[in-house]
């Protein structure tokens, strides 16, 4: 057992560069081209954390998720899970460790095997990791997992197949499969982005419930800051493989100082039609992570950029305890307005 003050999962100077057309001749000529998907990331995830990774598409958030569970190997840097360095582990130890790490994928329509019954889908991780010795024990744990994700009565679901379920139910099965092995750490890669609005909040609430019940640490990968602010405790805002700003949700969403986070937050549409928020519309689109510009990666799109930003890369510095930002010229914290739907949510909870 590790000490609860130590991080459950952490990474240091994590880097994943994908080669782009790096054949023998380009290596000879020294014209190597790399796609820097993840470039020097430090993260610490503690037990029971909900750590969100947010950013535009192509910023490397999914790649980090894959690196942290050892699905792909880092080009450089280390990943530690429960204090063990993933890259030093033998095949057998890695396999043992993997039983404690699970993922929930984005698309429940393609992440479930259509030819496996829901029972087999959920029981498969138990069998693969040899966690149960008898079929009655297996059944007990599968039924418990179904109950945890509120697919009840479990007998009604266990022998059905994925095509008989709605999107929300499928995602519940995917969650049941993840929690059946009693994991310590789950990577959830945009688990609600394919679901309808009215079902989304159910799944979010379910993930929260499971976290408090089983004391699981999550990495929650999302592009939707409103989801992140609802579900998360901590957040890292990424841009082209680097962390621009990280800290608690309160620090980052309700007091963003990095120009990129500010722009990202102000681009989220507001449900309040009575108020016209002054928006910072960010021009252009993210650059390419292939041979990124020198200096600050965000500088080509940043309206506050000065000479220094184009030549020198800003370090990720702590601006207040736990709140890091990588910018030479941080801005005033962004203030958000009150949301009128709070009254509606309050009202709907009248008993």
């Amino acid at each position: 057992m590790i000490n609860s003050s130590d991080p459950l999962v952490s990474c240091r100077k994590l880097r994943k560069w994908f080669p782009v057309r790096n054949d023998f001749f380009s290596q000879l000529r020294g014209h190597e081209v790399w796609l820097k998907a993840v470039d020097g990331i430090d993260l610490d995830i503690f037990q029971n954390d909900m750590y969100c990774l947010a950013g535009e598409s192509g910023c490397g958030k999914t790649t980090i998720g894959k690196l942290l569970i050892g699905l792909i190997e880092p080009s450089d840097g280390e990943v530690y899970i429960e204090g063990k360095n993933l890259s030093n582990l033998s095949h057998r130890d890695l396999r043992k460790l993997r039983a404690k790490i699970q993922t929930i994928f984005q698309d429940p329509y393609s992440s479930l095997n259509p030819r496996l019954s829901l029972y087999d889908t959920v029981a498969e991780p138990l069998r693969l990791n040899k966690l149960v010795s008898s079929s009655s024990e297996e059944e007990e744990r599968v039924v418990k997992a179904f109950e945890a994700v509120q697919l009840t009565p479990a007998e009604e679901f266990t022998f059905r197949y994925p095509h008989e379920l709605s999107g929300g139910q499928r995602q519940r099965v995917a969650i049941a499969r993840a929690i059946v092995v009693n994991p310590r750490f789950i990577v959830a890669d945009e688990p609600v982005s394919m679901l309808d609005v009215s079902i989304r909040s159910e799944i979010l609430n379910l993930l929260q419930k499971i976290r408090s019940e089983f004391q699981i640490a999550y990495i929650y990968v999302t592009h939707d800051l409103s989801v992140a602010s609802y579900i998360g405790d901590k957040i890292a805002i990424m841009y082209l493989g680097k962390v621009m700003e990280k800290g608690s949700i309160k620090q980052v969403i309700h007091g963003a100082i990095h120009p990129y986070s500010r722009a990202l937050i102000s681009a989220v549409p507001s449900p309040n039609p009575t108020r016209m928020r002054k928006r910072e519309i960010l021009p252009g689109e993210p650059g390419s992570p292939i041979n990124p510009p020198p200096g600050c990666l965000f500088s080509p799109r940043c309206k506050y950029a000065k000479q220094k930003c184009f030549s020198e890369e800003p370090p990720l510095e702590e601006v207040e305890p736990g709140h890091f930002s990588s910018c030479w010229f941080p801005q005033e914290p962004l203030k958000l307005d009150f949301d009128p739907r709070d009254t509606l949510i309050e009202a709907s909870q009248i008993e």
Partner: protein
Amino acid sequence: MSLRVEDLKIYYCMKRGECKAVEDISFNIEKGDSVGLVGESGCGKSTVAFSILRMLPFPGEIMDGKILLDNEDLVTLSEEQMRRYRWTKISMVFQGAMNALNPIIRVKDQITEAIRTHNPSISKSEALKSARELFKLVGMDPNRINNYPFEFSGGMKQRAMIVMALACNPKFLIADEPTTALDVTVQAQIMELLKKLVNDLGITLMLITHDLSVVAETCKKVIIMYAGKIVESGSVKEIFAQPLHPYSQGLIASIPSIEKSSNQSLASIPGSPPNLLKPPTGCRFHPRCEYSQEVCRTEDPQIEELKKDHFVACHLSSGRIASEKYNQVIQKVKL
């Protein structure tokens, strides 16, 4: 250009049965309006859009109803007449800009083709000139018009699709989920652009989306659909301040927001949308509605104008039945 839809009924007739995708919907869009058509997937919002252009995919069929564009019924027009109306009067920005452009034809050729098909008297160079003008209008470098679609980023493809829709100078624009699969920052850019088109060019906009916050920022009016029916419609300001239909209330309360001040858990609507091959009897929302009573199961609520320009289809809000809790909720959200 105003659009009036009356008792529109669209079924997909399949071997398995009739899928009642759109059932008796009526709405009105005035000239210069921007209207958001909102609902979950499968509620019939895209079907409505395609039926206005008479481009319903097989086996979809308009069974009944009228689509009146400036008092001319589009349903009764011949295919040739309809072809002349498409793009010159009404046009559409399709869902998934990533796949809507032909990958092996230059963007300029795709746009000038649209212009010259609908108006053969325009010369090639004139068509190109107006296409370049439109590129400037949507905030793109006119020289990029010579590129192939794969040289464009997602946001640029979507802009090119908007140029395509505007090519023949239509006065009515339907945008079907124009920002799905785009990043939030690009979504904000595209929405600003659509707003600009409505304000500067006087285009009437019908925006189809599942994202209520997008509607709140972009549109003046909103129509909320559920399982092929309109449950509530009215001005954005009024509906967001005081939604009357239980479904709209649930929908609005269930979207997470970055502006939330409190730490309450989000509301959610239990269950999932019905199968439209066999829609529920009575009110189509009753199996998921926490206030549902006997009459909701048997009788279909008619859409009624409860306040000026605020239409609701619900037995509760029309006062036919009463619920203590519903009244409390309504009292509380009254801002």
